[in-house]
């Protein structure tokens, strides 16, 4: 078995885990991070993209709110390029409590969260689709955050500082030594999913940042961590109906926020306690609730075209859990298993929000330093990650670059303005097992056609690169995350002569890439498929069935490590249990 020695082993490639790896590497430790799928595949890549001002928690959980505003200010510098400075409104709709707004305003002032009340007329001037019956509107420094790009940039910064980031490496078992009362975690046995091999990683300190999966990790050595997976469902409108984050000004509840992010606007969220963090199936009532509540902020939103629905699982944690998940703290918790369970060398960081990931990493590494007997200071608050020098992104940046540099012929995904060279460079420079991984890198297939045109093109382009030579998924060393997002920085002429090899795993098969991605996109469409998007989907069927005959591609039995995940139902449906001729009886009334 392959063995790796390191100081710090981090488990989990979400915001928190990559944050810990970055923090630890900057402090000078040797670091290895393992993630069972792609970076951000878990909860980080499945949230609405809000950089909190703290306003949301200011009345209910002032401690969290204070952390949020402090981290908001830091991330705007360290991860500037991952943030669109949209600002946020807290809107009092006719449905909302009359007393809450004053408490909200006073609490913001107490915590130093900039909060200015503007007239409804002014708010309507800035956001014309806002409910004109709104009674009061407050402006706060909320923003939109690209959690894919931010996590990749954090990981890149960690790599630059010497960390190894191993995606598609799943923990099989923590390795504990010693007997009861004096046990010590000395690393983990992990499975390299792409190669099907096990790897033993030995570490002085193991940090469990697996989020909603943290309980499963701890359980491998019999340590109990009660994570409460709280499933939240979101749906995306096909364009930017708003340019400011809209929150309801009331105690946090279901369906009370709309975030404008990149080309879409995201309605969120629900909160459902689930047993299994992999349980991401959406119930029809969740979509109905989001539409109904969304109407309070944007009247008529239910008639908009939706392109996508998805669910993420919040890693909520409480030592003594009872009742509904919405009341569980949004604060984070560091579990010191030495004092808590008599297991040394092992910390679990759990809970929190994307906005506080850096702080969570800092607190975790401060504790780790105590145990490792060093007191290296945390540097993350003052060290921008690569790309931050570009400043905040804005909605039009790709279009401007495509037009300035005449890259129209290069467009592979016309919805999200992904060029061929962006895709090629992402595939060369990033560990890639599926097209979904490339989607997270460059936004492939995230627009209105949901992969209708670009799936075929991406598969064809990767096929043309196939013979260039490949490397496997833990050796991609030359990421340039910020430039990966930019059409202008990915021009043919600029890269000729010094191409790095393709980072696609050796077993990757074009037909499998195509089938996996079409199924992955289909899954996220089902909950919101009606009207114009249903018409679009029928066009995608025409292309992939009638024109391409992709349901009869060779290599029928080929499977990727992700195939089963994509095959799980995206929404509760009864059609699978009914013969298709059954519709003859079900006439429209």
């Amino acid at each position: 078995m392959k063995r790796i020695e390191t100081d710090i082993l981090v488990i989990g490639g979400g915001a928190t885990g990559t944050g810990v790896a970055w923090d630890a590497a900057l402090r000078g430790f040797r670091v290895v991070l393992v993630e069972k799928r792609d970076l951000t595949h878990g909860t980080t890549g499945r949230y609405h993209g809000l950089l909190h001002s703290g306003g949301r928690y200011v009345v209910k959980d002032p401690h969290s709110a204070a952390e949020c505003i402090a981290e908001n200010r830091i991330l705007r510098k360290t991860h500037a390029h991952c943030i669109e400075d949209t600002g946020g409104f807290f809107v009092v709709t006719p449905e909302d409590d009359n007393d809450y707004p004053d408490r909200f305003h006073a609490a913001c002032q107490r915590l130093g969260i900039p909060c200015e009340e503007i007239s409804v007329a002014e708010a309507l001037k800035r956001e014309p689709l806002l409910n004109p019956r709104a009674r009061r509107v407050f402006v706060v420094p909320d923003a939109a955050a690209d959690s894919f790009q931010a996590t990749h940039s954090t990981a890149q910064a960690a790599r630059h500082a010497g960390a190894r980031i191993l995606t598609y490496h799943e923990v099989v078992q923590l390795i504990a030594e010693g007997s009861d009362g004096a046990r010590r975690v000395v690393g983990a046995r992990v499975r390299d999913v792409a190669r099907g091999e096990d790897v033993e990683i030995r570490a002085a300190m193991t940090i469990n940042a697996a989020g909603a999966w943290a309980g499963q990790i701890a359980r491998t050595i019999g340590v109990r961590v009660d994570v409460i997976p709280g499933k939240g469902t979101m749906i995306a409108v096909n364009h930017r109906i708003i340019n400011t984050v809209l929150n309801r000004c009331k105690m946090p509840a279901d369906g009370d926020i709309i975030v404008p992010i990149h080309t879409v606007s995201v309605l969120g969220t629900t909160d459902v306690h689930v047993q299994d963090p992999e349980h991401l199936t959406i119930e029809p009532w969740e979509v109905e609730l989001l539409l109904r509540e969304g109407e309070q902020l944007i009247p008529g939103v239910r008639r908009a075209r939706f392109v996508r629905a998805w669910a993420g699982v919040r890693p909520l944690y409480q030592e003594h859990y009872s009742g509904a998940t919405r009341d569980v703290t949004r604060d984070f918790t560091l579990l010191d298993h030495h004092t808590r369970d008599g297991v040394a060398g092992f910390l679990t960081i759990i809970g929190g929000k994307w906005t506080t990931f850096r702080l969570m990493a800092q607190v975790t590494m401060d504790k780790a330093c105590e145990y490792l007997g060093t007191c290296k200071p945390c540097l993350t608050a003052t060290t921008p990650v690569p790309g931050a020098e570009h400043g905040h992104y804005w909605l039009g940046h790709r279009l401007r670059e495509v037009e300035e540099h005449h890259l129209q012929n290069e467009l592979v995904c016309e919805c999200e303005l992904v060029t061929r060279t962006m895709l090629e460079n992402a595939a060369r420079n990033n560990p890639t097992l599926t097209l979904d991984d490339l989607r997270r890198d460059v936004r492939l297939g995230m627009g209105p056609c949901q992969g209708g045109f670009c799936t075929y093109r991406a598969v064809g382009i990767l096929h043309e690169l196939k013979d260039e030579g490949r490397k496997t998924n833990d050796e991609g060393e030359t990421w340039e995350v910020a430039t990966m997002q930019s059409p202008a920085h990915n021009q043919r002429s600029a890269i000729s002569g010094q191409r790095s090899p393709l980072a696609i795993s050796p077993f990757t098969n074009s037909n499998l890439l195509l089938r996996d991605f079409l199924q992955e996109r289909w899954k996220g469409l089902l909950p919101i498929l009606w009207g114009q998007q249903l018409k679009q989907e029928r066009l995608d069927e025409l292309i992939y069935l009638a024109l391409m005959n992709a349901d009869h591609l060779p290599d029928k039995d080929a499977r990727s490590p992700m195939s089963d995940f994509y095959a799980r139902p995206g929404v509760v449906t009864t059609a699978d249990h009914r013969p298709s001729v059954g519709i003859e009886e079900a006439r429209d009334e």
Binding site: E288, V459, H463, K523, E541, A550, G570
Partner: protein, 417 residues
């Protein structure tokens, strides 16, 4: 005033207009857009898979007998026998207009042609330009594409053809052999190849890469208005059989087909109004009097004795739906056959061979192809429905899109052919 108004300009609408005009009616086509013909392969698919997408069909007209027994409400069953004659009519018509179509060498068999992924795809009639792609022929194939062009991938096609036992290899030629534009799609490339000079430079490049005995597969961009001469010229200059493989939309073979039919219809005196979105109608008793289309100023009324609905299904925009699970026919609000609620619309797998129940939703008709309600009664005495708007079939899953369009178009108006 027209005798007949056809709503929709896809294959079903154009052919219904053709039959009506041939029968001596004054015909007008009113259509919002150009129909699914522009998105598909330009072939005539009759029945590729049955009873589900898991089972390929060798001889569609034979298999149709099973289908007619098992699914008596399927449009093919209702059209009883019309398909065979409609296919003959189509072949004759396309011969007349100079865009000949033919089927497999062995009459009655499905023809298997390479798809843009290199998968063998079943069809029944193909335009002359696609015929040499017939996968029952033994010659090895050279699949040729253009460097950096986003809509065609010869290495992928060749690899998949080889995996299915068909010998093929790939070559990429410079795109600027055809066009130096900064933003090209299939239609612009096809237009460029209407120019004999471009054909000559392409032929010279092909001569350098082709080996004796090979046939050459190119993306379907070999000329638009001058297609027939472009193809002949290229074959002569290269000295090898050449065939087109369809591409991502817009489909040049589909556009050629539409253009050829539209020209013929104009010769027959049919008026064609495209970009006319029908937004209302007036019925008196059980007769439709007129339809209204959107126009600047005020809506424009179109009166006729008879109306043929050829708006397409969900794909063509003839059927719409909303988040409550409501599904409706957009012109006359005809009764629809559809799953009772949204929970029954889809299956979990995109490629489920049974297909998704919502895509079988449509207008139910009687044997005269006149829309009926849930009790089986005719809704209007002077309305017919044809093509993809019809219920009880899934033309994409069955690969029957054009076959259903042709067969049902022939049945409209109850013409004695």
């Amino acid at each position: 005033m027209s005798d007949v108004i056809v709503i929709g300009a896809g294959l079903a609408g154009l052919m219904a207009a053709y039959y009506a005009a041939r029968a001596g009616e004054r015909v007008k086509i009113v259509a919002k857009g150009l129909g699914a013909t522009h998105w598909h392969a330009g072939t005539v698919d009759v029945l590729g898979y049955y009873p589900t997408a898991a089972t390929p069909v060798a001889r569609p007209l034979d298999t149709l007998r099973d289908l007619t027994r098992a699914q008596p409400q399927h449009p093919y069953a209702l059209a009883d026998g019309a398909l065979d004659r409609a296919l003959q009519d189509f072949v004759t018509l396309m011969q007349e207009v100079g865009l000949p179509y033919a089927g497999a060498t062995s009459t009655g068999d499905n023809l298997w042609l390479p798809s843009p992924l290199g998968v063998a795809r079943p069809t029944f009639l193909a335009p002359r330009a696609q015929r040499a792609g017939d996968l029952s022929r033994p010659e090895p194939m050279l699949i040729v594409g253009f460097q950096g062009w986003r809509d065609f991938y010869p290495t992928l096609i060749a690899e998949n053809l080889n995996k299915q036992g068909h010998r093929a290899r790939a070559e990429l030629l410079p795109l600027d052999l055809i066009s130096a534009r900064r933003d090209v799609n299939t239609v612009q490339l096809a237009t460029a190849l209407d120019d004999p000079a471009r054909v000559e430079s392409l032929a010279a490049a092909l001569r350098k890469v082709v080996q004796p005995g090979e046939r050459i597969g190119l993306p379907a961009i070999l000329g638009l208005d001058a297609h027939v001469t472009t193809l002949e010229r290229l074959e002569t200059q290269v000295g090898a059989p050449i065939f087109e493989i369809p591409t991502l939309p817009p489909s040049v073979p589909g556009i050629r087909l539409t253009n050829a039919l539209r020209n013929r219809l104009r010769q027959l005196g049919v008026r064609i109004e495209i970009n006319a979105d029908v937004i209302g109608f007036r019925a008196e008793g059980d007769r439709v009097m007129w339809i209204e289309s959107e126009a600047s100023g005020r809506p424009l009324k179109h009166r006729a004795e008879k109306f043929i609905l050829a708006t397409g299904g969900i794909l063509g925009g003839g059927i719409n739906s909303d988040h409550t699970g409501k599904v409706w026919e957009v012109i006359f609000n005809l009764p629809l056959v559809a799953p009772a609620n949204r929970g029954q619309w889809f299956r979990a797998h995109f490629f489920d061979p049974e297909g998704h129940p919502i895509f079988r939703a449509g207008v139910a008709v009687d044997r005269e192809f006149q829309p009926i309600d849930a009790r089986g009664a005719r809704v209007f005495t002077n309305v017919w429905a044809v093509g993809n708007v019809l219920a009880h079939c899934d033309p994409v899953r069955e690969r029957s899109l054009e076959g259903i369009a042709l067969a049902t178009a022939r049945c409209a108006l109850t013409i004695d052919h």
